[in-house]
């Protein structure tokens, strides 16, 4: 996948979340969230705890049934199809808290990521090139890795699908600054390879430098989407929406 030469605002949306409503039993969590992730763009979803950020991610992955609205990938409706078919549409998801297969080795974790899309050794090499540190730890069990290395492995496993869209749920949570920088670098590299990235973060400072677009979400509704540049020029909005 090569980066598109079109300016960001001229590209067709790759992933479109259109007014989705989601409920956990009788408790409604999303009241119509609309987002667009374009190729070669990082869209950051900002909001307080419990605002519904992770719920949006899980809904895209088909893990929660929608009660309204729809989700499109390249114009095709993907909401309602079985959850295991969503990754095969090449949507990669790195959930919050890493979520590896802790007993398996680094190598086995990657292999399990490769199988569903029948990706081969070239994908494995591509992924390991991105995270050279994992190559040194191939035979180590995943739970013995450091937090940062586990995050790398979780991202590596998601990239094994050769995703068009990558969903990252708080990838820098609990990591040391050098590791945060590395994860950020990889995220930007992904964007430059033409992937659409939907990034959930709580730390505004971690976001502003990498995001192209920022969407605020509160009480299960999105309030406003604006370009990161605009937000950098108007920090008041951050105070208003996040109270920080």
């Amino acid at each position: 996948m090569r980066p598109s030469r079109l300016p960001i605002w001229g590209r067709p949306p790759m992933l479109k979340v259109d007014g989705i409503q989601v409920a956990y039993g009788k408790v409604q969590a999303l009241f119509g969230v609309t987002l667009e992730v374009k190729p070669g763009e990082i869209l950051c979803l900002l909001g307080r705890n419990g605002a519904g950020k992770t719920t949006v991610m899980k809904s895209i992955m088909g893990l929660l049934p929608l009660t309204g609205g729809a989700i499109f990938l390249n114009g095709e409706v993907i909401s309602g199809i079985p959850a295991h078919e969503i990754p095969r549409k090449r949507i990669g998801y790195v959930p919050q808290g890493r979520r590896l297969f802790p007993e398996l080795t680094v190598s086995e974790n990657i292999e399990i990521g490769l199988l569903p899309c029948k990706s081969g050794s070239d994908t494995r090499d591509w992924v390991l090139e991105m995270f050279p540190r994992l190559r040194e730890r191939l035979n180590q069990q995943a739970h013995t890795l450091s937090g940062g290395e586990q995050q790398m492995l979780a991202m590596a496993r998601a990239l094994c699908l050769h995703p068009q869209v990558l969903l990252l749920d708080e990838p820098t949570e609990g990591l040391q600054p050098s590791m945060i920088e590395l994860i950020r670098q990889v995220t930007v590299n992904m964007k430059n390879e033409g992937l659409g990235v939907l990034l959930v973060e709580q730390r505004v400072d971690a976001v502003l430098s990498v995001a192209d677009q920022v969407a605020f979400i509160e009480h299960g509704q999105n309030l406003e989407s604006l370009s990161a540049e605009e937000l950098r020029g108007d920090p008041d909005k951050i105070h208003r929406y996040l109270g920080v």
Partner: protein, 314 residues
């Protein structure tokens, strides 16, 4: 040597040692070992579901008994030759496992365990209900004349040993290969965390269904072989006790290891055999030994060796 090569050599060595033991062991122990190998096939079938896929079943006796009764009834009432009857036994298990798998997998965790137990109890009661054919509690004997396969008399001690060894080796090598395949790796992903596996694009329901069917068919093959080699078909094999045995064997030997089921059966068989020489309260000794093993080797014998000393152990 790669991990796969090491594991291949290890399995080949185990098969060769078992072959050589026949010439060394006294008749009594060779007879025991034949029985242990057949039961180990049952345990391997169980391990596929429990050790590799992470599904705990308390109803596997129904698969073992389906194979055994499928074989026994086909010989005794259908008058079929042994080879065809074994195939009938396996086919019967296939049908049972497809139906039970389809229904039971609508539940998960503890509910799955209980549903399997209930199905197995139903199977046991069906055997008793049709006592006219199955001879109920008493069971029935398959005559020596009916136990010939390819011109060999499988009731003879030596032939029985080799037949058990062939079945055991085929299953061991097949499973060793299978768990290293894409399918085997996918099962492990389901065991480790089903939701994560789904997020990576695995159809976990289909995988679990296939695991139930494969595990059931292996258990049924062991049941049919047991009937063929030892000539007795009894409802005891359909009781809950025979659903708990494979769980114990696999836990003791090491769940999710290729050799664990065999080691577990061997250990438990001789634990009971030897302790019953010493005292009538042999279950007391067996109980203490099991307790100690659970305390000091929670991953089972092979699992513990793998965790502490030999990380490449398959």
């Amino acid at each position: 040597m790669t991990r796969e090569q090491k594991s291949l050599w290890l399995h080949a060595a185990v098969v060769l040692v078992l072959g050589a033991l026949y010439f060394v062991l006294p008749e009594y122990h060779a007879g025991n070992l034949a029985r242990i190998m057949v039961l180990a096939v049952y345990a391997m079938g169980y391990n596929l579901l429990f050790g590799y896929t992470g599904l705990l079943s308390l109803g596997h006796a129904m698969f073992f008994a389906a194979g055994m009764y499928g074989f026994g009834l086909a010989v005794n009432h259908g008058g079929l030759p042994a080879g065809a009857a074994v195939l009938i036994g396996i086919a019967a298990t296939l049908v049972v496992s497809v139906v039970v798998g389809f229904l039971a997998l609508r539940t998960r965790d503890v509910a799955f365990m209980i549903v399997m137990l209930m199905f197995a109890q139903t199977g046991y009661l069906i055997i008793l209900y049709f006592g006219e054919f199955t001879r109920g509690d008493e069971g029935f004997v398959v005559q020596q004349a009916q136990r010939g396969l390819f011109g060999f008399d499988l009731s003879a001690q030596g032939i029985r040993y080799w037949a058990a060894l062939i079945l055991f080796s085929a299953c061991l090598l097949g499973i060793a290969k299978g768990v290293n395949s894409r399918f085997g790796k996918a099962l492990v992903a389901v065991r480790e965390n089903e939701e994560r596996a789904r997020m990576l694009g695995y159809d976990t329901h289909r995988l679990k269904f296939l695991a139930v069917v494969l595990s059931g068919v292996l258990s049924g093959a062991a049941g049919a072989a047991y009937g063929l080699l030892f000539g007795y078909i009894g409802s005891t094999f359909a009781t809950v006790q025979y659903s708990i045995f494979p769980l114990l064997w696999v836990l003791l030997g090491g769940a999710g290891t290729t050799l664990g089921p065999f080691v577990g059966v061997l250990f438990m068989f001789y634990l009971i055999d030897l302790s019953s020489f010493l005292t009538d309260a042999y279950m007391f000794i067996a109980g203490i030994a099991l307790l100690l093993l659970t305390m000091f080797a929670p991953k089972g014998i092979v699992g513990q060796i793998r965790a502490s000393r030999v990380p490449w152990l398959p």
